[in-house]
Amino acid sequence: MKVLSTNRIIYSLSLVVLAVFVSHPTLSGQTNSCVECHNELDEELKAPAETFKRDIHQQFGLSCADCHGGNPSEEDIDLAKDKTFKGTPSRSLIPEFCSSCHSDSSYMRRFNPSLRVDQLDLFWTSKHGQLLKKGDINVAVCTDCHGTHEIQAATHPKSMTFPWNIPQTCNRCHSDKEYMKNYKIPTNQWENYKESVHAHALFDKKDLSAPVCNDCHGNHGAFPPEVTSISYVCRQCHPSTGELFSQSPHKKVYDEMGISECEACHGNHKILPPSDEMLGTGENAVCIQCHEPDSKPYQVASRIKGKVDEFKEKIHNVESLLERADRQGVEVSEPKFRLSEATTALVLVRNLTHNLSLIDIEEKIEDGEKVITEVAEAGEAALREAKFRKVWLIIAILFIFLLAIALYLKIKQIGKKTSA
């Protein structure tokens, strides 16, 4: 009996507590008058109430009033839009509008301690920020890249700031000739980037580490990288190539002449997949951009290209040799495995072309050629084996025909006997 009565007390107490929670507006997810009213309105004013449901701020428990002020617990429109109500900020005020929270580290820590809080400072250093300061409200502000009421974390694949959406986000303004006409900068960046090796990695291979606009230009502090900094930007991902370039005779000359390092040969937005055609003195070679025919560097370029081509040709030959043997059913997995050392050497040689040292290149090629010789021997042996098998088959078929002839003679002989 006693146990039962204790349970009853607990039960009734919890009912009371529940009733308090339900009746208290702030504790029970109260109705939001902003949403209620805006849902009744026309398209443009209804949109925020609809799209905010998918906004990251909503997921962290923030609501309209946290940015726009006002009192959502008031049903009456005049009471709701009280003194704290900020309404829609003008474009020029948006950076401050967002940064009132995003630059406040103690506030931001509550939601995401690892998120940076220097976006506003960076923004003022960007080309966008500088122009905004001068009163140009056509430049990008926070909402142009992040959206307004449907903001997503940059890690969300549908976010405007997710790697494979970024080119489109920037492109909305930067490809618009009409929109950009006052700024006197090209509008073909997207056209060019689309064909680059980086775009291919990002869009075709879905490689999220491939650079998009902001990886070279910065995001909040977006600015065209200057001649000297381009090489450092590329070195972020291509350190060994950069190191080799620094050892090359080009380094000093480029510095003196103020030529940007990587860009001079590879371009900027349209960085095509590098090919061996870029080497040497051929039609598509980059060396002839600067070097006159018959000059010494011209000859070196031609020699390097010759070496690489020769090496490639050798690899190709031995590859097709193995392929031929493979097609004829001979075991060549071992030499094929060995050949991977030669292809590794080729990749290394291609990288070495950045320091332009013939000695280094020749040394590496020699390593590779040793492997190729061994593989070629194995390939030849495999082909001999294949030939041997064919010869055996021809012999077998010959024997079959002899047997057939013997049978034919026997049949005739027996036929004669029976008819006789």
Binding site: D326, G329, E331, K390, L393, F401, I411, I414, G415, T418
Partner: protein
């Protein structure tokens, strides 16, 4: 000295023979075979196709047993093991190519054997059961082909199996169940390989042994039929052993040489490994011996009166096959040793239909 040796040798052979003879009744068998006569006339060329089928079947059994040594019937390693046989195993490419080539030649030889038997009316009494058992052998060998085609688990065979079993599933009421039963699940999967392998190396060989045994026994007991048109005339006859057998083996040797040449110059391809998530490649076709049915299903209108065209076609084939099997009992004229032009005519129509449909499959692109 050498004469002595020769005599001894002869003596030894005679001893072994008489030992075996008294136990296996060899001389009775030999006497039967020598006594048995095979008619020789202008149509006797077609008699040899039965022997060729038997020989090719022996080649299949032999190379099949050899392939079993390295083949693994599982989704992970079926394709890899075929590749292994083709590239790593000594003469593996030869064994596998012989198996594939001779399988196709075998099906072709079976069709020729069947149509020649039909047109020469060799099915008439007392050989009705030879015909019926032959019909079952046809079905068994088609099943051999269908199941064997999937085993290398390459793209073509994968999708051909999918399309083939999809056709089975259009049969009303039981179709879906048949498909699930054949595939061992709702889709072509690892379970399908196990099933097809089981069918290909255990079940079908078992049935073949029984029915082929009956078929050959009947041929041996009843002997070869003489065409009706030659009934009046006196036809030359040759002994089954050794004359006919020797001629048979001459044919076999020529076929063997042909297979050898085909294998050296056109080794059977391994293809791309099947990927069940890949989209179906364009123009996927079943093996050539199924294409006449496949193409019929494609060109038939989707609706005939109230029924689905596909269903009608499938029932048509089933009824046609049943009638085909029962031909010896339907052809009353032939049974009375009279000419039956209607059946000859139908035979030619069906033959032409199969040839035209098969050719159409390969001539019309995108089919």
């Amino acid at each position: 000295m050498s004469f002595q040796k020769k005599v001894n040798m002869k003596h030894l052979i005679q001893n072994v023979y008489s030992y075996a003879d008294s136990r296996f009744k060899l001389s009775e068998l030999l006497q039967f075979a020598t006594k048995k006569k095979v008619p020789e006339h202008k149509y006797s060329f077609w008699y040899y196709f039965g022997g060729i089928c038997l020989f090719l079947f022996a080649v299949q059994v032999f190379t099949g047993i050899l392939l079993l040594l390295y083949y693994t019937p599982s989704i992970d390693s079926a394709h890899e093991s075929i590749k292994f046989i083709m590239s790593q195993v000594k003469f593996g490419w030869l064994i596998r190519s012989v198996h594939s080539w001779s399988a196709n030649i075998l099906i072709g030889a079976i069709f020729i054997h069947m149509f020649s038997t039909f047109l020469l009316k060799a099915y008439r009494p007392p050989r009705e059961l030879t015909w019926v058992s032959g019909f079952f052998l046809l079905l068994i060998f088609l099943a051999f082909g269908f199941s064997g085609y999937l085993l290398p688990w390459n793209e073509l065979s994968f999708f051909a199996t999918r399309v083939g079993t999809d056709i089975a599933s259009t049969i009303p009421l039981i179709g879906k169940h048949i498909k699930t039963f054949i595939l061992g699940g709702s889709e072509v999967s690892g379970a399908t390989i196990s099933r097809f392998f089981w069918l290909h190396v255990a079940i079908l060989p078992l049935f073949t042994t029984i029915i082929l045994g009956i078929h050959i026994l009947l041929v041996q007991i009843i002997g070869m039929s003489k065409p009706i048109s030659l009934a009046e005339r006196k036809v030359k006859e040759i002994p089954f052993f050794p004359n006919f057998i020797l001629k048979d083996s001459l044919g076999w040797m020529l076929i063997l040489a042909l297979i050898g040449v085909l294998c050296v110059f056109f080794p059977w391809e391994v293809g791309q490994k099947a990927d069940s998530f890949a989209p179906t490649p364009l123009g996927i076709k079943p093996e050539w011996y199924f294409t006449f049915m496949f193409t019929t299903l494609k060109i038939i209108p989707s609706h005939i009166l109230l029924f689905e065209g596909e269903v009608i076609a499938i029932f048509g084939f089933m009824i046609g096959a049943l009638l085909w099997m029962l031909v010896p009992f339907l052809d009353r004229n032939a049974a009375k040793e009279r000419r039956s032009p209607f059946f000859s005519f139908m035979g030619w129509i069906i033959f032409l239909y199969i040839v035209i449909m098969t050719v159409l499959t390969y001539l019309l692109p995108g089919w």
